[in-house]
């Protein structure tokens, strides 16, 4: 258990914490538009933290192949940061164009 393992564990558990918040938010928010808020942001941040932990842990036994694998994990992070907000925007756009009314206070949860 050296200092590198502790950094990896802290990053991994904070990533799992944010992913937990995203899952609970998707279950408990009252309507479609507010459910996209945890789905779009918390999943992106949770993936970012967990993937950073994996990229650091992979460099534990340093070699050229391990460095290449870590760079690929960083590439996944960059792709998720580009793709996940775009997908969320696409779903919101579909909802607005299909004419889904937003939830207001006092209405029934749906």
């Amino acid at each position: 258990m050296d200092i590198m393992d502790i950094i990896v564990l802290v990053l991994l558990f904070s990533g799992l914490f944010f992913l937990t918040g995203g899952a609970i938010g998707i279950l408990r928010f009252p309507d479609f538009y507010s459910r996209l808020h945890p789905a779009g942001k918390l999943d992106t941040l949770g993936s970012f933290l967990a993937m950073t932990a994996f990229a650091l842990f992979n460099l534990h036994h340093f070699s050229l192949g391990a460095l290449l694998t870590s760079l690929k994990i960083l590439l996944i992070i960059v792709f998720v940061f580009l793709a996940s907000p775009t997908a969320t925007h696409g779903i919101v756009d579909a909802g607005v164009r299909a004419g889904l009314a937003p939830w207001t206070k006092g209405e029934k949860r749906r």
Binding site: A39, T88, A101
Partner: protein, 95 residues
């Protein structure tokens, strides 16, 4: 460290079941798409964890990258498809 990764993977599978509940129960089609998208973004993390468990990260990283791209394309295509379907929902259009 292997045990910690194993239990993290199990916990991640539990979170995917929670997202699957939304995908099954969701009142509109778009709610189901939110659930499926959340499951996909958790699957990318889970694939790299499985790679660490099998000590073959160099192979599983490529699978995870391909899965991330596939999930993105699938969600975009499905949202472009369903936005044309008016009358799919029980509420009246407000625009």
């Amino acid at each position: 460290m292997d045990n910690i990764f194993l239990y993290s993977a199990l916990y991640l599978a539990f979170l995917m079941i929670l997202s699957l509940v939304r995908a099954v129960l969701g009142p509109t089609v778009l709610d189901r798409m939110i659930g499926v998208n959340a499951i996909g973004s958790k699957t990318v993390v889970l694939l790299i964890l499985i790679g660490f468990l099998y000590h073959r990260v160099d192979m599983f990283v490529d699978i995870a990258l391909a899965y991330a791209m596939l999930n993105f394309i699938a969600v975009l295509a499905a949202s472009r498809y369903f936005q044309k379907r008016k009358g799919l929902y029980d509420e009246a259009p407000y625009l």
